[in-house]
C-alpha cells in the first residue's frame, strides 16, 4: 500500500456539491410566476457579468423580477439551508449524537422567545439602535436553551444516551414555547408581529435581509469549518480526545456558540424550518462516510442546494397562499428522522 491509496475522502465531492449549489441557484432564479421565459434567465445573468455582452431579450422590468424578487429569496433560502445544515452537523459532532439538530435542541424555540422579549419590551424604539437587539436576543436565548438541554440531557442519561438528549430538547422546547405563549397573552398587541417573525420572511425576502444574516452566517461557517478535524477527534469520546491532546470542553463550547449564532441569525429571517439539520448531514454521511472533514463542507453546500429546491414548490404550486417551506422540509424530514432512529435502534 502506498500513501496515495490511503486517503480520508475522495476529492471530487466538493466540486460536485458546488456545481449542485450553483445549479440550484440558477434553477431558483429561472422558476417562478411572472418574469421572462426560463431559458432567457441564465443568458441575462451572463449579460450582467462585467465584460460580457449576451443578447437575452429580457426587459428591464423582467430583470427587476429576477434580481429584486427571485434572487434575494433564492440566495436567502440558500444561506438558511447552508447554515442549518452545517450547524446541525456540528451539533451532532460535539454532542456525539446523530439525532440532534438546531430545532430538537431548543435553539429555534429559544431564539423565538428572545425575539418575543424584544417585541414585548419595545420594538419600535429598539429597531433604530446602533446594534439591533433582535438578533442578539434571539442568539442569547437560543444559546441558553441549548445549554439547558445539554446539561439536563447529559445529567440524567450520561454521555452516551442519545435519547435523553433528544427528550431534554423536547422538554426545553415545550417549556420555552409555554413561556412565549404566556408572554404573548399579556401583550396581545404584538402577537401579529411576533408570529410573522416566527413564520419567517422568506417569501418577502429582500437584499436587506440577505445583508442582515450574511455576516453571522459567514462568521459561524468559518469558525465551524475550522473545527472539522477536531470534530473527528471528538468522535472517540471525551476521555480519549483528552488523551490525544484535545481541549474537549473548549472545542465543544466554541462550536456550540458559533453553531447557535448562525442558527439564531437565520431563524430570524426564515422562521421555523425543521429537519434540514438532520436530513442533509445524514444524506451526506450515507454518500461519503462520517468524517466531519467532508461532512461539514458538504453539508454546507448541499444544505443550500436542498433548501433552495425545497422552496420551489412553495413558489409555484399553491397560489395565492404559499406553502411555508417548513411544511415541505417537515414532510421530507419526519420520515427520514424515523428511519435513522430505526436503523440506530437496530444497530444496538
Amino acid at each position: 500500500m502506498n500513501s496515495s491509496q490511503v486517503r480520508v475522502s475522495s476529492p471530487w465531492w466538493i466540486p460536485t456539491a458546488v456545481a449542485m449549489l450553483v445549479l440550484a441557484l440558477l434553477g431558483g432564479a429561472m422558476i417562478g410566476p411572472a418574469g421572462p421565459t426560463w431559458w432567457r434567465v441564465p443568458l441575462e445573468l451572463l449579460n450582467r457579468l462585467p465584460l460580457l455582452t449576451v443578447h437575452s431579450g429580457v426587459s428591464e422590468s423582467e430583470w427587476n423580477i429576477i434580481w429584486l424578487v427571485r434572487m434575494p429569496r433564492v440566495v436567502l433560502a440558500g444561506l438558511v439551508g447552508c447554515t442549518l445544515s452545517i450547524a446541525g452537523a456540528s451539533y451532532q459532532g460535539v454532542f456525539r449524537n446523530p439525532l440532534v439538530d438546531p430545532y430538537l435542541l431548543g435553539v429555534a424555540a429559544g431564539a423565538g422567545l428572545g425575539a418575543t422579549f424584544v417585541f414585548t419590551i419595545n420594538r419600535a424604539g429598539s429597531s433604530t439602535w446602533l446594534i439591533d437587539p433582535l438578533p442578539l436576543a434571539a442568539f442569547g436565548c437560543g444559546l441558553a436553551a441549548v445549554l439547558v438541554t445539554y446539561v439536563v440531557g447529559t445529567a440524567f442519561g450520561g454521555e452516551r444516551s442519545s435519547t435523553t438528549l433528544v427528550l431534554a430538547g423536547v422538554a426545553v422546547t415545550s417549556l420555552v414555547t409555554a413561556m412565549q405563549a404566556f408572554l404573548l397573552q399579556r401583550h396581545t398587541d404584538v402577537m401579529r408581529e411576533v408570529y410573522s417573525w416566527i413564520l419567517g420572511r422568506l417569501s418577502t425576502a429582500t437584499w436587506t435581509d440577505v445583508r442582515l444574516v450574511l455576516p453571522y452566517v459567514a462568521l459561524s461557517t468559518t469558525v465551524l469549518l475550522f473545527h472539522r478535524r477536531l470534530l473527528d477527534v471528538l468522535r472517540v469520546g471525551d476521555d480519549e480526545a483528552t488523551a490525544l491532546g484535545a481541549h474537549v470542553n473548549r472545542i465543544r463550547l466554541v462550536v456550540v456558540l458559533f453553531a447557535t449564532l448562525g442558527t439564531a441569525a437565520v431563524v430570524a429571517v426564515s422562521g421555523l424550518i425543521g429537519f434540514v439539520g438532520i436530513i442533509v448531514p445524514h444524506a451526506v454521511r450515507l454518500l461519503v462516510g462520517a468524517s466531519y472533514r467532508v461532512v461539514l463542507p458538504l453539508s454546507f453546500l448541499l444544505g443550500g442546494a436542498f433548501l433552495i429546491t425545497a422552496d420551489i414548490p412553495g413558489r409555484i404550486l399553491s397560489n395565492p397562499a404559499e406553502t411555508p417551506i417548513g411544511v415541505v422540509t417537515a414532510f421530507l424530514g419526519a420520515p427520514f428522522f424515523l428511519l435513522i432512529l430505526r436503523t440506530r435502534q437496530a444497530s444496538r
Binding site: 500500500m1 502506498n2 500513501s3 490511503v6 480520508v8 475550522f226 473545527h227 478535524r229 477536531l230 473527528d232 477527534v233 468522535r235 472517540v236 469520546g237 476521555d239 480519549e240 483528552t242 488523551a243 490525544l244 491532546g245 484535545a246 481541549h247 454521511r285 462516510g289 462520517a290 468524517s291 472533514r293 444497530s347
Partner: protein, 260 residues
C-alpha cells in the same frame, strides 16, 4: 528515553478511593506491569497519567511535572490505549489511526505528509494494511484492539500506557502484540506501563511487576519476587501453582481449590 515517577498519587471518585498514595519509579526504557484483582485501581492510575481524571500527588516525566505541560505536549509524551476504547462504528481504521497524530497537528491545521507517511508505516509494521479501509464496526474484537494499539504507536510518544492490551486477542495475536510492544520498546527506547490480568504473560514481558490491591501498592519486583503462590492467594484469593522455567520465566497455573 524517558522516566516516569509517581509521587504519592491518589485518585478518588466521590468518597471512593481508587488509588491511595501510589509511589513508584519507572526507569527509562523499562516495562512496568500493574497487576491486581478487578477494582484494584490499575485503570484509574493510568487514567490519571493521561489527565482524564484528577488526582492528588505528582506525576513527573523526565524531571518535570507532567501536568504543568499543556494537553498537546502531554499527548506527545504519553500515548494511551484504554481498557475499552471508543471505536465509532462508522469510522474507518485509517481515520482512526490518523487521530494518533493529533498532538502534532496545529489546532486548525491538517496532517502533513510526514503524518500520513508515519500512519502508513504503522499499518505496515503492525501488519494491518488489509484493515485500513474497513469500518471499525465491522472488525472483530481482536482486530479492533490491534487498531487501537496502532493509534497509540502512531502517537510516537516515549511513554506508552496499555490498559489490558491483550484481553480479547487470541494466543497468537497476544504474543504478536506484546512482541511488537517489546520491539518498539527496544528500538525506540519506549517506557511502557501496562495493566494486565494474564500473570504469566505479564511476568514474561515486563521487567517489573507491581501488585495493587484496593488502591494500594502492595508489592513490586521481578516476576520471581511478585508471582508467589502465597502472595497471589492472599490478594486474589486463588489457589495457584507457580512454575519456574529454567530460563527464569514464571508460569502461573490456576488450580481448582479443594473446598467443596
Amino acid at each position: 528515553m524517558t522516566s516516569l515517577n509517581f509521587e504519592k498519587v491518589s485518585v478518588q471518585y466521590g468518597q471512593r478511593r481508587a488509588v491511595v498514595e501510589f509511589s513508584e519509579v519507572v526507569r527509562p526504557g523499562e516495562w512496568l506491569c500493574l497487576i491486581g484483582p478487578n477494582g484494584a485501581g490499575k485503570s484509574s492510575l493510568l487514567r490519571a497519567i493521561v489527565g482524564i481524571i484528577s488526582f492528588s500527588g505528582n506525576i513527573v516525566v523526565d524531571g518535570a511535572t507532567l501536568h504543568d505541560r499543556n494537553a498537546r505536549r502531554r499527548a506527545q509524551l504519553v500515548a494511551y490505549v484504554p481498557q475499552s476504547p471508543v471505536m465509532p462504528s462508522d469510522m474507518n481504521a485509517y481515520e482512526y489511526v490518523l487521530l494518533g497524530r493529533n498532538p502534532y497537528v496545529s489546532h486548525f491545521g491538517s496532517e502533513s505528509v510526514h503524518d500520513t507517511a508515519m500512519v502508513n508505516s504503522v499499518f505496515e509494521r503492525l501488519d494491518l494494511t488489509d484493515f485500513a479501509h474497513r469500518q471499525l464496526g465491522e472488525l472483530s474484537g481482536g482486530e479492533r484492539q490491534r487498531v487501537a494499539i496502532a493509534r497509540a504507536v502512531a502517537q510516537e510518544a516515549p511513554i506508552l500506557l496499555l490498559d489490558e492490551p491483550t484481553s480479547s486477542l487470541d494466543i497468537g495475536h497476544q504474543q504478536q502484540a506484546l512482541e511488537l510492544v517489546d520491539k518498539l520498546r527496544r528500538e525506540h527506547g519506549l517506557t511502557v506501563v501496562s495493566a494486565m490480568h494474564d500473570l504469566t504473560l505479564a511476568g514474561s514481558y515486563a521487567d517489573r511487576l507491581v501488585l495493587m490491591h484496593e488502591g494500594h501498592r502492595v508489592v513490586g519486583g521481578t516476576a520471581q519476587e511478585v508471582l508467589r503462590a502465597e502472595t497471589l492467594a492472599e490478594f486474589y484469593g486463588v489457589s495457584v501453582h507457580v512454575h519456574h522455567e529454567p530460563d527464569g520465566t514464571v508460569a502461573v497455573i490456576p488450580r481448582r481449590s479443594l473446598r467443596t
